[in-house]
């Protein structure tokens, strides 16, 4: 645990020794994985407990009333710019959804009492939180690893994923996501901080310059954008040819 805390502090301050020590470790991937799981469980745990307490303390009828009030406030801004018929249909559909919610809580029963269901659902969300991160992290890491290799990178995939896992540390701030306004701002700060750590991690893991590391991180997006553009152009050409043939 002390080792993890030291790693976290070094990551936040972009300490070169922390990055290099982690890269040289024979258990680089295991340590990185542990960091992702611990940070993910802390963030997921805080958010999950807040949601759990909110759900248990607020009766279903009050939750529905809050959702109705929230919809009225948010939709009120947009509805004036909409044709009245569309605005009426959206409101009617939303009200139907709320009525379904009310009736489900009133008229349906599950074998176990509802509070246990709430606890189960939030426990599932807490446990799933770090694994949700892991999926995206490993997929993106594998792509960046390929591009870093093309740019002359010399790290292994285990070193790449292990060192770049330090990017999750600032995301501890995501635990404050439940605070209105401030939560969003803190998450944005965490994201920017995380990107900086990720680039540094790629540079260290692959032994390439920061410029090349930035390029390696950006290339998956650039390639995806080019593919999407090519796909759009191809579809456009096909439609043009098809309509021209008529």
């Amino acid at each position: 645990m002390i080792e993890l805390l030291g790693m976290a502090r070094g990551a936040l301050t972009l300490n070169a020794q922390t990055f290099n020590t982690l890269k040289q470790s024979p258990n680089v991937f295991r340590q990185g994985l542990a960091l992702v799981l611990v940070v993910g469980l802390i963030v997921g745990g805080v958010l999950g407990v807040v949601a759990l307490v909110g759900e248990i303390l607020t009766p279903p009828a009050q939750q529905i009333a809050q959702a109705r009030e929230g919809f009225r406030q948010t939709f009120g801004y947009f509805s004036s710019a909409m044709p009245p018929e569309i605005s009426r249909q959206i409101t009617e559909s939303f009200e139907m959804g709320l009525r379904i919610g009310e009736r489900v809580t009133r008229e349906t029963r599950s074998p176990l009492p509802e509070p246990i269901g709430v606890i189960f659902r939030q426990s599932g969300a807490i446990v799933s939180y770090p694994f949700g991160w892991l999926g995206g992290f490993i997929f993106f890491g594998a792509l960046v690893h390929i591009f870093a290799k093309l740019l002359g990178g010399r790290g292994t995939i285990a070193q790449m994923l292990g060192v770049t896992s330090l990017t999750v540390v600032p995301h501890l701030l995501d635990a404050f996501g439940f605070i209105a306004c401030l939560g969003g701002l803190l998450s944005f700060i965490a994201w920017v901080w995380g990107v900086v750590i990720y680039i540094k991690g790629v540079a260290v893991a692959q032994e390439i310059s920061v410029g090349k590391a930035i390029l390696a991180v950006l290339l998956p997006f650039i390639v995806a954008f080019i593919f999407a553009l090519l796909l759009l152009v191809s579809v456009g050409v096909l439609i043009a040819v098809a309509s021209g043939g008529k």
Partner: protein, 237 residues
Amino acid sequence: MLREYFGLGLGALFLKEEVFEKMRQDSGRVTKGLILILFVGVIVALVALIGNVLEWATTPDLNNLQNIILNELKQMSWYRQNANNPEFLRGFEQGYTQWWQFFGGTFKVDVLGAVTNVIVNPLALALRWLLYGVVASIVARMLGGKGTLSQTLGCTALAVAPEILNVVTVVPYAQVGGVAIWGSICAYLGIKVANELSPWRAFWATLLPAIAVVFVAILVGCCVSVAIGAVLSGGAR
């Protein structure tokens, strides 16, 4: 014995190349690989069964839910405006039934499926390993690999290791992401070590079998579609 399998699985999970190397040198690699796959498959399915039962126990009665949604849809203005049109009513009932069959299934907790999965899951994992391992071995040899089929099979069996993460589904409503891509990375290491390939050749030897499987699936799909189309048009004449 159990400790050995535990070490193999954990080492592969943490992408330790020495574990793949150890498997490559092992004389009983294919048997060990198969046992590891079956073991992981059964454990994961058993644990998921517990999670499924707990989910089922906290899921509301779906028949009741289906009726509530239907009743509420019938209160909508567009429904009431067309309530006297028999054609609309017939189409609505049909459309709603079809929609529920598709969408209602997302609410359903399939406990029976989870029970059969205790047998199906390990078998499916083993079949996937055999198919992928054989194709990967052929591709690796074409790219200059030096490993035998049994070495490739032994090492790629370790790609099952990330599946063990699915044990968290013992917690109801828990989901795990990244298992497939993690498994692919393990397969890459397995092919690289088993065949003593360079990283790039190992990359292509890992990717090409997957592309080949997708290509064959598309080809089979097209052939089946053409065949069905031909049969239907023949029957219509």
